[in-house]
């Protein structure tokens, strides 16, 4: 059994209050300070955070609910969040929703019961209902990557539609007119839908047609990217460029191109999304929409800590971070 503050009391002859005060950074006589420090060392005392949390209603711990801990996007963001929180001496509790709304709701309840001081959510659900337990317990929440449909809460994200618009525009600037898109289904995913809309807007603004065959919508997976690219390449009137609207799809699509007889950018130009691991190492080096992952993680933490430390819950703010397009060699400039 580990030792308690009471053992220190016995050992030092001081009162609980004095010791507690010392532990929390208060001022005590130098001689007592030495006494207490010695006792702590000898007893290997560690404060019981449960007891502490029970009385203070603060745990100096932040919870993160991620929609899929197995995905690189989530993993990368989690890493940055962890680093940011560590700097502020906050602990981090991560929960995986396994892409399942039921689990997601449970996770919120779990963290609320653990009395975390705040929660960062990478949500699956589009509705705010699952956040109710946090709201009732008055625990601040910040959304990351995806906002909700029915309530505007604090959120850190990019403007997916604009990012996609710019990406497709870049292809158009290079005189591509036959541009296809591979993206995830709107029913599944907020970001997929937004990016698709961006593609459509860019095409329409340039008065370019969007043949049905050029739109491949399904899910956020390597398999889908691979299959779709194979299909696109085998069309009797194939596109000259493809907008790959997320990381997994980008990976799969590049694999399909590399397996084929065709080469990028000679035969097909590519614009990808999310530079997670591949851009620096593979050929063709993809032009990609780059999300500021680190900044996203950091801003989410910053915003959350701010809400934690100021009980004026103010209006909720959306922080929209800007993306950039990293240059590669995957786009051919066609002649006008």
């Amino acid at each position: 059994m580990s030792s308690t503050i009471r053992d220190i009391k016995e050992r030092t002859g001081l009162s609980l209050a004095t010791i507690s005060k010392f532990l929390n950074g208060g001022n005590v006589l130098p001689e007592n300070k030495i006494l207490i420090e010695k006792a702590i060392r000898e007893l290997r005392y560690e404060p019981n955070e449960l007891a502490r949390g029970l009385v203070t209603n603060k745990t100096r711990t932040v919870g993160v609910v991620a929609y899929d801990i197995g995905s690189l996007f989530n993993g990368t963001l989690l890493r940055y969040i962890g680093q940011a929180l560590r700097k502020e001496r906050y602990g981090l509790l991560i929960c995986d929703s396994q892409n399942d709304q039921t689990v997601e709701a449970e996770n919120i309840r779990f963290l609320v019961n653990k009395k975390v001081d705040g929660i960062i959510v990478l949500p699956i659900s589009r509705s705010a209902a699952f956040l109710k337990p946090a709201k009732e317990a008055d625990i601040p929440v910040v959304l990351l990557d995806r906002p909700l449909a029915d309530e505007s809460l604090d959120c850190v994200r990019i403007d997916n539609r604009k990012a996609a618009y710019r990406a497709v525009s870049r292809l158009i600037e290079n005189h591509h007119r036959k541009i296809a898109v591979i993206c995830s289904d709107e029913r599944n995913e907020y970001t997929g839908y937004e990016r698709y809309k961006g593609y459509v807007a860019a095409m329409e603004d340039a008065s370019l047609p969007i043949p049905r065959d050029y739109v491949r919508k399904r899910d956020h997976s390597i398999e889908f990217g691979y299959e779709s690219m194979k299909k696109l390449l085998s069309l009797h009137d194939p596109p000259t460029a493809v907008f790959l609207s997320n990381y997994e799809v980008s990976l799969g699509a590049v694999m399909a191109v590399n397996e084929s007889e065709l080469s990028c950018p000679r035969d097909i130009s590519l614009m990808g999304f999310d530079d997670l691991i591949l851009s620096h190492i593979m050929e063709p080096r993809l032009y990609m929409v780059v999300q500021p992952m680190q900044e996203m993680g950091e801003k989410a933490c910053e915003l959350l800590l701010q809400k934690i430390n100021s009980k004026d819950k103010a209006l909720s703010s959306e922080i929209i971070l800007s993306t950039r397009i990293s240059d590669g060699n995957s786009i051919a400039q066609l002649t006008a």
Copy 2:
């Protein structure tokens, strides 16, 4: 503020003890049961887990300390662990060590302070020192993927050396004699070293030479796999086969081959490690050493829960799970 057991007492006129008993699954009169359930619903009561943990010293929560949450290997394992724990109605707290021993040690202390019932560790450190806080608090620990050098603790893993030996033997069976290896450095990583040893043993048992140029040792990264494969392919006496000893390296190496003029398996045969996302979709389909990720996650949970629920701490056991080699088309059969 959320409601407490006391509010239920007021509402029902029953005593704290009765309500507590009900909450913990004890028997109460049917009429009281109804009364309590109604009050719980109306007050949206949720037990305060801190208070509960403070008195019971049980939190029904397991902590996992992963060495790098951004890696697919960790992420995949975490996903399975989460699923297994959920089935047993245990909560899960994940901590990321950011590949840093200091953070790793902090994470252990953090979880101990959170009074988790047990901890699963995917360790960075090779020495057991960082686990001391858990030991002192009498919290059971199970290692996953990697054992420690100086103490034999409960551990779930594969036999890396044997797995590598078999993988390389498979190449040899196909009459390859010039076989290279790309692996991580022994100073960095236990598994890398073991796999390298397996490679060496297989080569020696077959009396095959190991030219210095054929051994590329550094780190567990896509970049390194890519660079190394480029180097190997450009040797004046290149290997006919390469053993890629981990997932990242496998990815990078395949990219390098696909970019080159050479083709697999015609010009170069490949044996990979860890089937995380690519095997089903890419060409060449790699022969790979497959770790039973799901079983690893599940066994680790099983073993831990067993230790949690039996205070006889018995001897520590190592569970060595078997690997298999999944067939692909990345190995050419040479003529004897």
